[in-house]
Symmetry: C2
Subunit: 323 residues, 2 copies
Amino acid sequence: MGAGGATRGGIDLGGTKIQTVVVDDANDPLGDARRPTPQSGGPADVAAAMAEAMRDAAAGAGLETGALAGVGVGSPGGVDERAGTVRGAKNLPGWEGTYALGPELAEALGTRVRIGNDVDVATDAEFRLGVGTEYDSLLGVFWGTGVGGGLVLGGKPWVGQGSAGEFGHMVIERGGAHCPCGRRGCIEAYAGRAAMEAKARHEHEEKGRDTDLFKLMRKHDRPKLTSGIWERAVKQGDKLAIHLIDRAVDALGTGIASALNLLDLEAVVIGGGMGVRFGEPYADRIREAMMPHLFSDQRPPPIRVAALGDLGGAIGAALLVEG
Amino acid sequence: MGAGGATRGGIDLGGTKIQTVVVDDANDPLGDARRPTPQSGGPADVAAAMAEAMRDAAAGAGLETGALAGVGVGSPGGVDERAGTVRGAKNLPGWEGTYALGPELAEALGTRVRIGNDVDVATDAEFRLGVGTEYDSLLGVFWGTGVGGGLVLGGKPWVGQGSAGEFGHMVIERGGAHCPCGRRGCIEAYAGRAAMEAKARHEHEEKGRDTDLFKLMRKHDRPKLTSGIWERAVKQGDKLAIHLIDRAVDALGTGIASALNLLDLEAVVIGGGMGVRFGEPYADRIREAMMPHLFSDQRPPPIRVAALGDLGGAIGAALLVEG
């Protein structure tokens, strides 16, 4: 293998896990690694965990990180691509301020680093390499800790003035559920895993509703309700888990219909930890939840599951340092 | 004056009125006319009224319609530009099917006719000639009988696969108010003048709520609650009218925030019969209703009132036959 000029790294920084990948010049994975995102400490701790995970993926490809042509990062929060900084990443510990993640990682990894928005790079990956290649316009819905959105319009990413794609904060219910963003009735208030966990905890601890969600979490030694825990609970018939997943599906379907009514896109791609974990059967259910709200319902666009799966965000990040 | 090659006609076909204009090669109005849209009969009656209104505008400019280089039409419903047909225009009498409006008008007016979507042409007019000229991306919200939406993205109209811009059918309240489209909780269910009239009638006739809305309608010999009637009622402190307008403002603000969260646009333009009639003070109120739901609220985009006013749709229609 060796240090090819086009061998690159990609890091997908999520609220729950850090996923890294090394890809060749055809964007095929040569090695990958993942580790949990630190849940305490601050940005420096997160950056250190990212560097270690990137080293692991490079080792898996038989390389040192310094031999990579570059490393791309898909990050939540406010990304300044030129400065390489990330501001106000709410799902990450102690990251209220602005942190020079790019320079920090470049130093630690011995190669150039470029930072982009996590959802934008994941959408771009699906559009260029995944399930979206046959479409000219699409909405990427990233159903995970939060609910992110990415847009491709007329064959190009649409970022608006830099902050487009806040699909998760479209309002589907005025005065509705509290959202981690501080507002009410957003899609993410019903479908984001963090909001779902808070709701489950409230129902269980305050209202005494029966559920195995937290037992499963402890049994599998998870710091929070991961997508895997939700899936297990649903599979074993946990009523609260099923109810909250149904509620999330309905919120996603309603929001997707609203977005399609406005934009009339060719396709929707569902990704993110929950989206990939729950897969096709739930994409079909989201479609069913969308239909009653879809204005042009004679030809509903397909709702596809992200083809690059868990690696999509990291591969998309690696596209940032292509060429 | 005389029959200049670039002297064109435009017709804005609304659910309440037909507005026509004749413009010169700089798109400045030379004459205009309006008449009420027939509330009974069928498409042929509407087409006849359109032709008469177009003749009136031409006469105002000292011309016969046959001397116009062409006439553009902004129409509701499903427009097939090539065939010149309009299908399923729900706010027009007896127009469930497909009617060859273009050929019919071409025959009646003795010039070529091109038909476009009413909201798209009105958005294009504001973008090219009105309040939107300084922006590269905008949402046009046409608050009238229904609530229409038009998009300009990256300097170009965005129509999706042909049906984009159904802003009025974005969902702001799952299971909420009944919308004339048959769905529930759409923006139009709260803010469309037809839905507002149905709600006012229900509150007045079924629930015995006091209002002068219908008295004013009869006094001014209007077939329905026009924008002017709503304005009068609000000005004289009619509580039901004020409540329903507040409800519409809140729905519009919420929906605009949702659209901006998704698209991060530079500006919003409010047009339509209600939008133009209620003007700047209500654009400010819509902005206030938007703020609590806006994700990137550090730099809220301006909400401007359509500069071309009542003539915007007709001038935009005339742009269809430019050059």
